[in-house]
Amino acid sequence: MPYNELRDNTSASMIDINYQSPQYKDSYSRINAIVIEGEQEAHDNYISLIDLLPDRSGDLLKLAKMEEKHKKGFTACGNNLKVTPDMDFARAFFQELHQNFQNALKEGKLVTCLLIQSLIIECFAIAAYNIYIPVADPFARKITENVVKDEYLHLNFGEVWLKENFTTCRAELEEANRQNLPLVWQMLNAVTDDAKVLGMEKEDLVADFMTQYSESLANIGFSPREIIKMAATGIA
């Protein structure tokens, strides 16, 4: 196959999108709601984590405030396109992950809470925002570009703590991964069609999530062999 003749087939971001079409707005009402709800959950989760990590309350408050700011930014993105976010859909979307976080919180399982919020949700957000930026409307693009920079800091917060405590939290991380990672694939499946309307392919989202999540696991201290097993959990 002559590849040099296929050069023009790859440009991912050159899709012509009508941001005002009813179909786009309909899908946007769900995706935008997920993002707003995700930022709200993140805010609440960081506030909740103060109970389990009182000596880091300053950092956690700061992270929570950033998430609140993100929520406002994404709310503005919806307003800009005159779209009403479907918050019921979004709450149902996060329900299981939300419940798992709440259960872990009640049981004082800090490591599980950090895996859900600082790794899974942050990696999910980073992957989604990075894929969204090239296909976003100009208003949302600017906001999302700033948000994604913050999310790397949030991811780093969890990574650093888990790395420092790696020997004692390894087993709980593996268990929490087993319980929660399959939910990510389900969540992605639930929004595949809407994401596509917005110009985001599921394959790209999965690939970026796996790459980011694997990197985080490596930063925490897992070996390549362990990462391969963990990051592929429940994907089939």
Partner: protein, 339 residues
């Protein structure tokens, strides 16, 4: 630290290797999974030069498979390469070779325009295609094989298939300037580029592969095909030397005609053992001293402290650069494989 970005030759091969390594999660998966799988550093390597110097490096498995090109999953293919490069850079690797299809994908899909990989801006000077060393080694293999099999270069016709590619055009320039080769046949798909190459060399006959094979004493195959080299053995002259620079190298098993000698093109042999498993996985039959010349190029750049994209772009390989990398190749104990 040097790096090697590599990939396996097919989905079947990938599954076998995954199983062999105990990655059952990967062994059961289909092509779609390989499209989303993240890059992995699968081996830490140390290499000793015959000068006594030792360097260390890492092998990055990109997860790319040639089927991604055959099934037109171009976005996945490009993502694999960019992610592997970002992975190498994040791990602080100073100079990384883009092995197999990695450099072809980078070049043909114009990935230089997509250097922002999430929060990483790729620093191109950290990467080399390894093509200068590969071209040099193929030329040396040609010269040595001709001697070994009694072919006089001054009376020989050499066909270069894939002549307009980065490696192919370098081989043509070397043969023209540094060898007494009597006749060169230039084979490639793009007629415009072929004509331009012929004009720049001032020699060479342009023809199809079917026309070229029956009259060639030596055939150099450096065309990029996702299935490796495809040649009908009955068309070949006897005796004839075939230098298979494709990937995967599949000719040796296919062509078993007396007096047709197949050379694994672009392969080098190191004077000392390298303690690694990866060459066994990516090329199966190669023992611990044999490796791709493009991989060896990143090692040479590390040995010499030349942390720069020594081979880059298309058709930029000069004879001087081939001689420069060739000299350090010899210095550190690599030699062209002529088995």
């Amino acid at each position: 630290m040097f790096g090697l970005i590599g990939h396996l030759t097919s989905l079947t091969h990938a599954r076998e290797v995954a199983r062999e390594l105990g990655y059952e999660e990967y062994a059961e998966q289909d092509l779609d999974f390989w499209c989303v799988a993240p890059p992995q550093i699968v081996e830490d390597i140390s290499v000793k030069s015959i000068t006594g110097q030792t360097i260390v490096g890492k092998y990055v498995e990109s997860g790319f498979l040639p089927e991604m090109l055959l099934t037109k999953k171009f976005k996945a293919a490009t993502r694999k390469i960019l992610n592997a490069m970002a992975h190498a850079q994040k791990h602080g690797i100073s100079i990384t070779a883009l092995g197999g299809f990695s450099s072809i994908i980078f070049e043909n899909f114009n990935l230089i325009e997509m250097r922002q990989v999430r929060n990483i801006q790729l620093e191109i000077e950290r990467f080399t295609t390894g093509n200068t060393h590969t071209a040099y080694i193929i030329c040396r293999q040609l010269e040595e094989a001709a001697k070994k099999y009694g072919i006089e270069l001054c009376q020989a016709t050499v066909a270069i298939c894939g002549a307009t590619g980065d490696i192919g055009s370098a081989v043509c320039r070397w043969l023209h300037a540094r060898t007494p080769v009597q006749d060169m046949i230039l084979v490639a798909r793009n007629q415009e580029r072929l004509q331009a190459l012929r004009d720049s060399l001032g020699r060479g006959r342009i023809m199809t592969i079917e026309e070229a094979l029956p009259q060639s004493d030596i055939v150099v195959w450096v065309a990029s095909m996702a299935k490796g080299m495809e040649i009908a053995p009955e068309m070949l002259k006897q005796p004839c030397v075939l230098i298979d620079g494709g990937y995967p190298k599949n000719l040796e098993n296919i062509i078993q005609v007396p007096d047709v000698h197949v050379i694994n093109g672009g392969m080098v042999e190191h004077a000392l053992d390298i303690d690694w498993k990866i060459m066994k996985w990516v090329n199966r039959c190669a023992p611990s001293r044999q490796l791709f010349a493009c991989f060896a190029e990143s090692m040479l750049l590390e040995f010499e402290g030349w942390h720069t994209n020594f081979s880059w772009g298309r058709n930029q390989i000069t004879i001087e650069k081939m001689e420069q990398i060739g000299a350090v190749s010899v210095k550190h104990g690599f030699r062209p494989l002529v088995s």
